[in-house]
Amino acid sequence: MGKERVAVVGIGQTKHQATYDGSIATLVREAAERALDDARMGWSDIDAVVIGKAPDFFEGVMMPELYLADALGATGKPMFRVHTAGSVGGSTAIVAQDLIAAGIHERVLTVAFEKQSESEAMWALSLPIPFQPPMHAGAGGYFAPHVRAYIRRSGAPDHIGILVALKDRLNALKNPYAHLHEHGITFESVKDSIMLWDPIRYSETCPSSDGACAMVLTNEKGGDEAAAQGRPPAWVLGTAFRSEPTMFAGRDQVNPRGGQDCARDVYAQAGITDPRRDIDVAEIYVPFSWFEPMWLENLHFAAEGEGWKLVEAGVTQMDGDLPVNCSGGVLSSNPIGASGMLRFAEAAMQVRGQCGEHQIDGVRKALGHAYGGGSQFFAMWVVGTEKP
């Protein structure tokens, strides 16, 4: 943390959907305008813009930030692009907060997006590479063996993944911005959905979404002003990144060291000694249902091998003592580049009491989490009602 305190004073997102009928510029613009409106600011109030998205290859627009400067009011201002695969939405928010924490800027607009309808992101990362066997595994095929390893190690029963999927999809019904609104979903319908990559069923995977998320971050003065006007900010209590190589001997993809260290770091900054007790609500990046119990362990909410028990006991339900992904999470909306920022933004919305039907009462500290690549990039922040 730098010496300046950082406040989240504006948050906006688009309605996430299979095909957003507009340009990429219009998409990011819509989220950014909502964040500015929420912050009671205009384009001229912003000092710098930090934008993130997953690989450019997903839309086929190389370096889209060049073409998005006008749409984001960045003329004459610094504009930065961040890229850390699926965790990028979180990393982007952290870069924006660093610019304020360092005292370089007072008000920063940060935006993240993906427009999956422009192509097929599922296969865009499975292109043939010379001298490597083409697997066409897709993200699900890559992660499924690690999920299977988790089940074997922990002895978790088969229905845990179904419970997570059902919870997140039901939570999404309370979030008007969520992509999937499956009113008829049941335990049986998830269980009966096609097995794509054993043990991952179709209904336990995230959708392909178009969407964007934006936040306005300010220094302490901006946060105090917003509070004085009756719009309490979310104060950033800690931020952390970690990276690890795709492969090294002894790497544990079920419970990666990078994620464990990242969580310890962000908790230490936020004064959290017992995350299960001190965190009121968490938005965790769960693109396949089984990643909820896996990340509960990686994030130290449960001991190793015990995460699935929290799921089974209903701890992560909205009425549990650690609600996870009240927004419906990545399982209900996955505009990839924006998905991490949505986790960070939803955590801040919970702190600010902006979540409407999926609001948890009395949230004082919330965790936003994102991961990307082959479980190798991690970005996290803790936000709260009180200044650090």
Binding site: T19, Y20, D21, G22, S23, A25, T26, R29, W43, F57, E59, G60, D70, A71, L72, G73, T75, K115, S117, E118, S119, E120, A124, L127, P128, I129, P130, F131
Partner: protein, 165 residues
Amino acid sequence: MAEPDVLVAPSTIEYPFRRTTGPVIGAFLTALREGFLVGIKSSDGKVIVPPVEYDPYTADALTEIVEVGDAGEVTAWSWVAEPLDGQPLDRPFAFALIKLDGADTAMLHVVDTGGDPAAIATGMRVRARWKPPRPVGASEEDDATGAHRVGSILDIECFVPEGEN
């Protein structure tokens, strides 16, 4: 020690994309297909061609589409003596910035002077040479031939010195 046997493998990446253009860029492409050109009025009243969705100075959303001429003035150019595969013309031509009548910005296109580099100059007048209209009932395969207008900047085959077409 023997030279190592260094293997080389080809790597061709092909992947399909589709672009949702929205009402501003979409209007420009639709106009091209119909055989005319449009720009957009910016906050200071200037006409930008091709149109942009947001004002470069104020960041306001722009909506006022205006038709501009299909002739204009060359403001800068570069001669291509030996065209490469895939370039718009297969004979010597100029890449040129052309400020269309009614526009306040110049647009990049190509000028065909019949191969004569001496026949292009800054300030000269040029006019669009359009491809023929899209036949009623044309298929996607027909569109891919490039023989008629489809809603692309290449619906203008090239610009030629005014008076030549």
